[in-house]
């Protein structure tokens, strides 16, 4: 009864999305919940801890200066996200571009591992943290274009709608449900279409936008 379970899953998610939508605050999308707790938008959405080949410190790169970070923009490294449906992972040469120059940390264990990959010209086998079922097609490019380039929001906020506050984590962990109901709860809301006009619009709500 695989087919039956599938439809139940879809409908249940849809209903949950509808009922939850009115009570969600905008902040909930931006902040995500503190790691290890239930998120404030009502979803117990915390994903598993993913052990990566290198324990990449997002907080050190993108975190606030106050917390010892360097406030590097998400899109500086995750550059594919604005150009493609899939964000991919930054290429190894991107890491090396900076780390070749930073003598002070070259002897640190994580950096040594990184440089060893580079010496072998071997791609790092990063694991996927935000996986979707194979019948779902999410488009990073559209969301980034809309929220970052059209509405002028900071990438930390815009990326955070789905990925949570990665800048406060080391390796990323899923904190949002990323289920259909959760997607739709946002797509049903009116947003200003850009930073200057008062015109609003919402995301597409056609099944075929994501399922084909």
């Amino acid at each position: 009864m695989k087919t039956f379970s599938r439809i139940v899953l879809c409908l249940a998610a849809t209903l949950a999305g509808v009922s939850a939508a009115p009570v969600v605050s905008a902040d909930a999308f931006v902040q995500g919940g503190p790691i290890g707790s239930q998120t404030s938008d009502g979803y117990n959405a915390l994903g598993p801890v993913v052990t990566q080949p290198i324990e990449f410190p997002h907080n050190r790169h993108a975190g606030t200066r106050a917390n010892g970070g360097m406030e590097i923009d998400c899109l500086y490294c995750h550059t594919y996200a604005r150009r493609s449906a899939v964000s991919g992972i930054p290429r190894l040469s991107k890491c090396i571009g900076c780390h070749n120059m930073i003598e002070s940390v070259k002897e640190k264990p994580r950096i040594k591992t990184l440089l060893a990959y580079w010496d072998r010209r071997e791609a790092i086998p990063w694991k996927k943290v935000h996986d979707l079922p194979d019948f779902v097609r999410f488009n990073h490019e559209r969301h980034i274009q809309r929220f970052i380039f059209d509405q002028g929001r900071p990438s930390r906020e815009a990326c955070g709608y789905c990925h949570g506050d990665v800048a406060s984590m080391t390796t990323a962990r899923r904190v949002k449900a990323i289920s259909m109901g959760w997607c739709v709860s946002c797509h049903e809301k009116e947003h200003r279409i850009d930073a200057v006009s008062f015109k609003t619009g919402h995301g597409p709500n056609d099944c075929w936008q994501c399922h084909h």
Binding site: V49, V50, Y80, G88, I89, S93, P133, D134, F135, I178
Partner: protein, 751 residues
């Protein structure tokens, strides 16, 4: 189309490109097949597509197009492969190629399946005690080196290939020149060598160029230019323009069994097999009665066509008498015309005479210089295609039987499958002490070899190709890898040839580390003919990026040649052999050709256009024949020639001469991967030893057979429903040409 522009800068060479073309094991291919049954979200399990240092145009999730050349048939169409995450996903036509014009046929599309085939040969195999066992390339190369000798003494050392062109052809020619072999034999089971020989005698060149789109009327004697012709995509593009011309072109097709082209004719005329030449002479006689044409022929020729009056021609060919003056009148009214001859008239003992009589129509109609030309000079004639024939294989076969052949290197051809039983080719092959074959999948010929070597797929290899009879400038088509090789042991045939040549003539070839280096250096050397101003490296990258080297060149006029009336002499009417009352027509399918494509499942499941049958062989007979034999659709028939018999289900089709039975070529493989084996029968096997008297080519359509009904009946695996009639529903409506004004329709671009 999306991102065509990418090809312009997605030049691909060196390490970075490799990084992109490499099938990154770290990509999401593991879950490709999970499908929509996979509702699970498996965060932290799958790997993300990860690159070390890709080119700037490489973006995960975005496909990049690379130009290459299709090798599924000899037309050398420019193609593009959509590459993503190191995988080729789809093949398209390359708009920069004047041959394909951005279009692609079904056979070409399916080339990708040969590349990804689950039955690819992965390692070299050596026969031990009659069984092929895996071996190493070192061992294989040392065995191959043993075949390189530097004396002209002793048994022959033969390289046997299918039709080739470009730089591979240059290396193959060098094999006998360098002493690494004694002969290079080019074999094509579906060759057009008869046409080539007739063209040479009548027009001074082996390959004429017929411009369909410049003709007002095309009269085709069994030339399946839209289907299994020499260059179906280029011809179909010309055909589209021909139909959309200010005055819509008219197509008349005359043949014993309907081809795809015949199915598109304004008027399809059935003719008794082998009598095409008689009808052609009848038409010539008819045309000569007009004063415009009366002076076009020598008195000898006029006398030669004199006996072919309407009654006589109609009697021999079975074509209705009144049709002959009507066709002649239309030929005149819609000039310039173009008369084409195809495989059917060639395949008889008098094939050359048949073809000459048809070509005579072009002479009488003075089509030379209007619709019939000679192709422009190829700047590098050594790259011209070697089209192959049957006669040289027959000679080789005799030498093999006599024990005169010491070794054979076989590439790009499968003669054990495509030769008739009477030749006993497989038995004779056993008399050759050492034979090696380069294949992507173990075919029948490879199974009979001592050494079998895994070949790169055409989508993994470099190469250059030149098409015969190009009509739009001169084009060298460039083949480049669209993907890193799937099986590490597979190698390019060019590399093996080069290694053998290096042993025979080290001083000439030692500067080329591999075939790629040889090819690159050769292409760069051709720079002055194309783009002399750019740097070498840039020229090479531009060439790979475009996929073609093009030079605009005007077609050349055909010389006027005197030829004797004997050329068009038609045989006396044969008496029917009562034991074998039917003519066997081994029909060439557009998607299967000589059987090379039978291992591609898309093509097995692609319905034959006229019968809609899939995954099978069948015997096409006319409903009136079926009635006479009391045969219903699906009745299993035994088709017996003097050489042997095959079994196939009867398919009743109106588009066939009642005195013949057609069985398609391509099926009946004994070995060629899971999709080709145990499907249908091979009509090549039962062909009679009849040859064209002038050229010695095998007469494909001259075998006589008896049809015996068995008591078995099987359902057909076919796409059509219970009826093949529209039953008054407006499905495909037809308008008479004089009821429509095409000039008033919205114009659009025909590529």
């Amino acid at each position: 189309m999306i991102r065509f522009g990418m090809t312009a800068n997605s030049v691909a060479s060196g390490v970075n490109r490799r990084d992109f073309l490499n099938l990154v094991g770290l990509g999401g291919t593991a879950s490709v097949l999970a499908g929509c049954g996979n509702t699970s979200i498996e965060s932290g399990v799958e790997l993300v597509q990860s690159y070390v240092q890709p080119e700037t145009f490489v973006v995960p999730g975005v496909g990049v197009y690379y130009a290459s050349t299709c090798t599924q048939c000899g037309s050398a169409c420019g193609i593009m492969g959509k590459v993503r995450e190191g995988r080729i996903l789809k093949l398209e036509g390359n708009p920069q190629s004047a041959i394909s014009g951005g279009k692609i046929c079904g056979l070409g599309q399916a080339g990708i399946q040969g590349h990804y085939s689950p039955d690819r040969l992965k390692t070299p195999m050596l026969k031990e005690n009659g069984v092929l066992k895996a071996t190493t390339w070192e061992k294989a190369m040392s065995l191959l080196s043993g075949t390189v000798s530097f004396t002209a003494q002793g048994p022959r050392r033969v390289v046997l290939t299918g039709p080739t062109s470009g730089h591979l052809q240059i290396l193959l020619k060098a094999m006998p020149q360098s002493g690494a072999a004694t002969d290079h034999v080019v074999y094509d089971s579906l060759s057009t060598a008869v046409a080539a020989s007739v063209n040479l005698k009548m027009f001074g060149v082996e390959q004429t160029v017929g411009l369909i789109d410049k003709a007002g009327l095309v009269l085709s004697f069994g030339n399946d230019f839209l289907g299994a012709g020499d260059s179906p995509v280029a011809a179909a593009r010309q055909y589209a323009r021909f139909r959309k011309a200010e005055r819509r072109g008219i197509l008349i097709q005359i043949e014993p069994k309907m081809t795809l082209t015949g199915a598109n004719a304004d008027r399809w005329v059935v003719i008794a097999p082998g009598t095409e030449g008689v009808l052609a002479l009848g038409l010539v006689r008819e045309l000569l009665q007009r004063k415009e044409f009366a002076n076009n022929l020598s008195p000898n020729l006029i006398a030669a066509v004199e006996p072919y009056n309407q009654t006589e021609v109609s009697h021999i060919t079975g074509v209705r008498g009144d049709l002959i003056p009507r066709i002649a009148a239309t030929l005149w009214e819609h000039s310039p015309s173009l008369v084409l001859a195809g495989r059917y008239p060639q395949g008889h003992a008098h094939g050359s005479h048949n073809m000459a009589a048809i070509a005579l129509l072009n002479v009488v109609l003075q089509n030379q210089g209007k619709t019939l030309w000679r192709e422009a000079e190829l700047p590098f004639p050594q790259m011209a295609p070697a089209l192959g024939n049957f006669k040289s294989l027959r000679q080789l076969n005799t030498q093999m039987a006599a024990g005169d052949v010491g070794s054979m290197l076989i590439y790009g051809t499968n003669p054990v499958y495509s030769t008739p039983d009477f030749m006993r080719f497989a038995d004779n092959l056993q008399k050759v002490p050492f034979k090696a074959a380069w294949v992507t999948e173990l075919d029948e010929t490879a199974m009979h070899c001592d050494l079998v070597l895994p070949l790169m797929s055409p989508l993994e290899d470099f190469g250059t190709h030149v098409a015969a009879a190009q009509s739009d400038g001169m084009e060298i088509s460039i083949q480049q890898p669209l993907m890193e090789k799937l099986h590490p042991e597979a190698r390019s045939f060019g590399d093996s040839l080069l290694e053998l040549l290096k042993q025979a003539k080290p001083e000439s070839y030692k500067s080329f580390p591999d075939y790629y280096a040889y090819l690159k250096s050769a292409v760069v050397n051709a720079k002055p003919a194309f783009d002399p101003k750019v740097e070498d490296e840039e020229f090479w990258e531009n060439t790979l990026s475009a996929g073609v080297l093009r030079r605009p060149a005007a077609l050349l006029p055909l010389p006027a040649i005197e030829f004797s009336a004997d050329l068009v002499r038609q045989p006396l009417r044969e008496s029917r052999d009562a034991a074998y009352p039917f003519v066997l027509i081994p029909a060439v399918r557009p998607s299967m050709r000589d059987g090379k494509a039978a291992n591609l499942s898309w093509l097995q499941e692609s319905p034959d256009p006229l019968t809609t049958v899939v995954w099978d062989s069948w015997a096409e007979i006319h409903p009136s024949t079926a009635k006479q034999l009391q045969v219903n659709e699906g009745d299993v028939l035994v088709i017996k020639s003097a050489q042997g018999s095959i079994r196939a289900k009867a398919y009743l089709i109106p588009g066939i001469h009642p005195g013949s039975v057609a069985v398609p070529i391509g099926q009946g493989h004994e070995s060629y991967g899971r999709y080709a084996t145990n499907v249908g029968v091979n009509p090549f096997k039962i062909l009679d030893p009849i040859f064209d008297e002038e050229t010695g080519e095998l007469a494909l359509y001259a075998t006589r057979v008896a049809i015996m009904k068995t008591d078995q009946n099987e359902r057909f695996t076919k796409d059509e429903g219970a009826t093949n009639l529209q039953q008054g529903r407006k499905l495909v409506a037809t308008l008479a040409a004089d009821q429509v004004d095409l000039a008033k329709e919205t114009p659009f671009v025909i590529r």
